[in-house]
């Protein structure tokens, strides 16, 4: 079992530069002009690369409408909602979000089944189910419940989903042919907005009319003129503080995932730039960064969950 695992790991690491090759190939072809291979990899698009058995080991498919020889455009036309122009066409990141969610659902539901089966048979889970149980329990008992405060059970499903959703997205980005959806500001911003709304609604529910005091600074201990002055000065500060939290959440996750992949891709690009034994150096650096990214994948999912829980707890506990 361990041998298979290490074999799998080795295969993954070996496949890493192979996956990079797909992007490196056009760069070689057009050596004269500088071709950006990194940005297309980390940004969204209507193209998707699937594994392919023959060189260059990938097959590009278009998720939208084919235009010309290599062009690919959105499947559906733009939709105008008020002043906004939106396009709901499937993109690479939509597909990977869907893949991630489906995979995660399957894994978690099967784990829950296995957990129930083991619990029924021997009174405790074993193997993968025990590991998932440990993760769920750790996040629930050590991260969510202590930070969210009293009656925190209602927030457990949201925050646990957050953790596993981000984790899955991060890990999918590390797999060859995969794409990091959490490296897209739209995805992280959406998660942050959901968290923002959860935080504010939790505040409203916990504080009632006292929620207004988290926006409008009205300190009754101060004399009236000073109170009005402080109200004018502090209220924008409070509001900014409120909005900064989700922005920080979104930027932190997005920047971490994007930066890691840019570094990784830069090292992989260097392998093909050197084209000699010197390539070993960036190769090993790429391996090291991959391992770091594996850690960061867990870390960022954890941090997003932890900070969300802390923010929810903060607003529920705040009594001005």
């Amino acid at each position: 079992m361990r041998a298979i695992r290490s074999l799998f790991l080795a295969a993954t690491l070996l496949a890493l530069p192979a996956a990079a090759q797909e992007h490196a190939a056009p760069a070689e072809g057009a050596a004269a002009e500088n071709v950006d291979i990194i940005t297309p990899h980390i940004t969204d698009g209507f193209h998707m690369e699937l594994p392919y058995w023959a060189p260059p080991f990938y097959k590009e498919i278009c998720l939208g409408r084919h235009v010309g020889e290599h062009g690919c455009e959105a499947l559906w036309p733009d939709v105008h909602v008020g002043p906004l122009t939106l396009n709901f066409s499937p993109t690479k990141h939509v597909v990977f979000l869907f893949i991630g969610a489906t995979l995660l659902s399957l894994i978690m539901i099967m784990t829950a089944r296995a957990h129930a089966r083991h619990t029924h048979a021997i009174g405790r889970p074993k193997g993968f189910a025990a590991g998932i149980e440990a993760m769920v329990l750790y996040i629930r008992n050590e991260v969510i419940l202590p930070n969210v405060g009293h009656h925190g059970n209602g927030f457990v499903p949201y925050l646990l989903t957050c953790f596993f959703f981000i984790l899955t997205a991060n890990l999918l980005g590390l797999i060859p042919y995969g794409s990091t959806t959490t490296g897209n500001i739209s995805v992280t911003a959406t998660l942050a907005i959901i968290t923002f709304v959860v935080i504010e609604v939790a505040g409203m529910r916990a504080l009632g009319s006292g929620y207004l005091s988290t926006i409008f600074y009205w300190n009754k201990d101060l004399a009236l003129p000073i109170r009005i002055l402080m109200f004018i000065v502090m209220s924008p500060v409070e509001l900014v503080g409120k909005i900064t939290k989700p922005i920080a959440l979104a930027i932190r996750l997005f920047a971490n995932m994007t930066a890691g992949h840019i570094v990784l891709l830069a090292f992989i690009g260097l392998i093909f730039t050197f084209k000699s034994f010197v390539s070993a150096a960036p190769f090993f650096m790429a391996v090291a960064i991959s391992m770091l990214e594996l850690f960061v994948a867990f870390l960022q999912a954890f941090i997003f969950t932890l900070l969300s829980a802390v923010f929810i707890g903060q607003i529920r506990e705040s009594h001005h």
């Binding site: 969204d44 909602v81 959703f165 995805v187 959406t190 907005i193 609604v201």
Partner: protein, 191 residues
């Protein structure tokens, strides 16, 4: 859970945050895509529903059931242990009681036997003494009787001898009294 639903409701009125910046020129890493945000939201909410209903709830329920079972087992074990220790204490008490009783019985038996022995010894001694006394008394009586016999014999002899000597029969009461007085004046033998 309700908070999450409220959250999704709140989110539906916030698309103004999703600045539509699509197509055209170089892709900007920081420009959000409204469509993708919509899909993210949809996928996330569905995922949250599915996971919380089919994965987290049974998982946490199973863990809580296991915790409850463990607590119950611990409580029961404690109860059993308490009961066992109480039982043991009672057993010990009973054993101690039985031992004490046995000790008492033995002591009693020993005392009784001791007393019995002593009393029997005493009785034997008394009996012995009695027998000895009786024997001595009988001996004394025999002796007295023998002496009396001897004395009577002596008186008779003396009277016969004296009658022979004086040629007549001395048998008057006065004579017999004379001899008897004489013999009585002689100190008694053995005294």
């Amino acid at each position: 859970m309700r908070t999450a639903i409220l959250a999704s409701l709140g989110l539906s009125v916030m698309p103004s945050l999703a600045l539509a910046a699509e197509a055209g020129g170089k892709p900007n890493l920081l420009s959000p895509n409204g469509g993708l945000m919509f899909w993210t939201l949809l996928i996330f909410l569905v995922l949250m529903f599915v996971l919380s209903k089919f994965a987290f709830k049974p998982l946490v329920a199973a863990v809580e059931a296991r915790e409850a079972a463990l607590e119950e087992a611990i409580r029961k074990a404690q109860q059993d242990r308490d009961a066992a220790s109480a039982l043991l204490a009672e057993q010990q008490k009973q054993l101690d009681g039985a031992r004490a009783e046995a000790q008492k019985f033995i002591a009693e038996g020993r005392a009784t036997s001791e007393k019995l022995k002593a009393s029997m010894l005493e009785e034997t001694k008394i009996q012995q003494q009695e027998m000895l006394d009786r024997a001595r008394r009988e001996l004394e009586n025999e002796k007295v009787r023998a002496i009396d016999e001897l004395r009577r014999e002596a008186v008779d002899l003396a009277l016969a001898g004296a009658g022979k000597v004086i040629g007549r029969n001395l048998d008057s009461a006065a004579d017999r009294k004379l001899i008897d007085d004489f013999i009585a004046s002689i100190p008694k033998a053995g005294k």
